[in-house]
């Protein structure tokens, strides 16, 4: 609670200085500086690391713009950025695997990898990758180093997104006008909404759900099922609550950041669910992984494989463990089956007509919600616990 007060004091002071005490041409520098200060409070050691990468990508972008060996530069930069991301995210996993492997031998193998993950590394790397690819595609306008640094480290969103697109963010930086009361009202409302969702609803809901899911055999089946649904809702409240706060804080400084959720549990199929859940990262993976690797002259088989691989990568990005690998397979299969059903509907109009009947919509939404809800167990429970829950239900 004390940290929350400190944060809001920091925020309130920054907003006042930003709008009322600074000339407009100093605003992006100020915002960049307070983003660095915010990061310093959380993890001082990350700053040189990220500044180095911002400088690297910014510098490389100049050469790519000039067209000098641009493809080679792009590929090398992407390998470096993705390599860094994988190294920090999975270094602990690798070091444990190496130590376990080494324990089979008579000599002792000691491997120490840095376990200090630079805070926000995923989202920052996503922005850097997005920017350098868009420069290559000639879709990103030239910006100053400060404006680019602000885009990458913008403090409301650097930690956990949304991953805004550079052009949308930068154009707002360039066109920033004076304080707008309706925007500030909107921002404050979203912050309050986010606080309610995250700290009131989500944090209390989890206290009720976890004891039931940890001992499902001791509770009625219906209650266990409710807690499964509750898990999905709790994850949504937790994450969307954070997003609300991020969007609200961004708006206090005049920035409109993209939404990350759009009624995901009211979607009628798994494809629509993923288009409305964690929108910024899902669209990022679609644009920078799925399309480049699987979109070119695809066969149906290549598309199915691509869907599968994309979901596995997406889930392993969350966490590199068996739970999330299985989650990737689960959702990959769901999407493949849905895609196959789309092909069946195209070939057989009577099936399509049946799917358009009025009762089909609520049934589809209910089915999709159940499919998705059960998958959220992988976020909260280990495999043994998941088995116990499913055993209780079925």
């Amino acid at each position: 609670m004390e940290n929350l007060f400190k944060y809001f004091f920091f925020l309130g002071s920054s907003v006042i200085v930003y709008w009322f005490l600074l000339p407009s041409q100093w605003r992006s520098l100020f915002l960049f500086a307070i983003s660095l200060i915010f990061m310093a409070f959380l993890n001082l050691q990350s700053i040189p690391y990220f500044l180095l990468h911002i400088g690297l990508v910014y510098g490389v972008s100049f050469y790519i713009e000039k067209g000098r060996r641009k493809r080679l530069l792009l590929i090398l930069t992407l390998i470096w950025l993705v390599g860094n991301l994988c190294f920090f995210k999975y270094s602990e996993l690798f070091s444990r695997a190496i130590v376990e492997f080494g324990s089979a031998f008579p000599w002792t193998l000691r491997v120490e990898f840095p376990t200090l993950l630079p805070l926000g590394i995923s989202y920052i790397m996503f922005r850097l990758i997005h920017y350098i690819v868009e420069v290559y595609r000639k879709k990103a306008s030239r910006s100053s180093f400060i404006d680019f640094g602000l885009y990458v480290l913008f403090f409301p969103t650097f930690l956990a997104g949304p991953v805004e697109r550079f052009q949308r963010f930068h154009s707002q930086t360039m066109e920033m006008k004076g304080p707008d009361l309706s925007s500030i009202n909107w921002g404050l409302f979203r912050i309050l909404s986010g606080i309610a969702k995250k700290f009131v609803l989500a944090d209390n809901l989890i206290q009720w759900i976890i004891p039931v899911l940890h001992s499902p055999e001791s509770h009625p089946r219906f209650l266990v099922l409710l807690c499964i649904y509750g898990t999905a809702i709790q994850v949504y409240l937790d994450f969307s609550g954070y997003t609300d706060m991020a969007l609200g804080v961004a708006r206090l400084f005049g920035y409109r950041i993209m939404e990350n959720f759009n009624r995901p549990f009211f979607q009628r199929n798994i494809a629509m669910f993923w288009r409305n859940w964690h929108i910024s990262v899902y669209s990022w993976i679609r644009d920078y992984f799925f399309f480049p690797f699987f979109g070119y002259r695809p066969s149906n088989l290549k598309i199915y494989f691509g869907i599968f691989a994309t979901m596995i990568v997406f889930m392993l990005w969350h966490k590199g463990n068996l739970n999330f690998l299985l989650l990737g397979i689960y959702h990959g299969l769901g999407l493949v089956v849905w895609q196959f059903f789309q092909e069946v509907k195209r070939k057989y109009p009577p099936i399509r007509k049946w799917s358009l009947r009025s009762y089909f919509n609520p049934v589809a939404i209910f089915f999709t919600f159940n499919f998705v809800s059960f998958s959220f167990l992988f976020f909260r429970l280990d495999l043994t616990q998941i088995y116990a829950v499913l055993d209780r239900i079925f």
Binding site: F291, G295, Y296, P298, Q342
Partner: protein, 78 residues
């Protein structure tokens, strides 16, 4: 060119149940999703004998029928 693309979208994504406006957003409205875009791109490449480099594709270049026509024309002019 417009009619060929429109017919493809109407047959494959709208199942001939209605027409398509030139400025109708294809993705926001849910007419085409990511996988549908891939099929559409394959159709465009084959029909107009152009090569669409996936590393250069931006989904917003294919957001409406007019956007698609503009993108294809630019590609043909290159």
């Amino acid at each position: 060119m417009k009619e060929k693309i429109k017919n493809f979208i109407v047959e494959n994504f709208l199942f001939k149940e209605r027409g398509l406006e030139d400025n109708e957003p294809l993705f926001e409205s849910g007419i085409i999703d990511s996988l549908g875009l891939i099929k559409l791109l394959a159709f465009i490449e084959k029909t107009f004998n152009i090569s669409l480099n996936m590393s250069e594709i931006d989904i917003e270049d294919f957001n409406t029928l007019n956007d698609i026509l503009e993108t294809i024309q630019k590609k043909m002019d290159q």
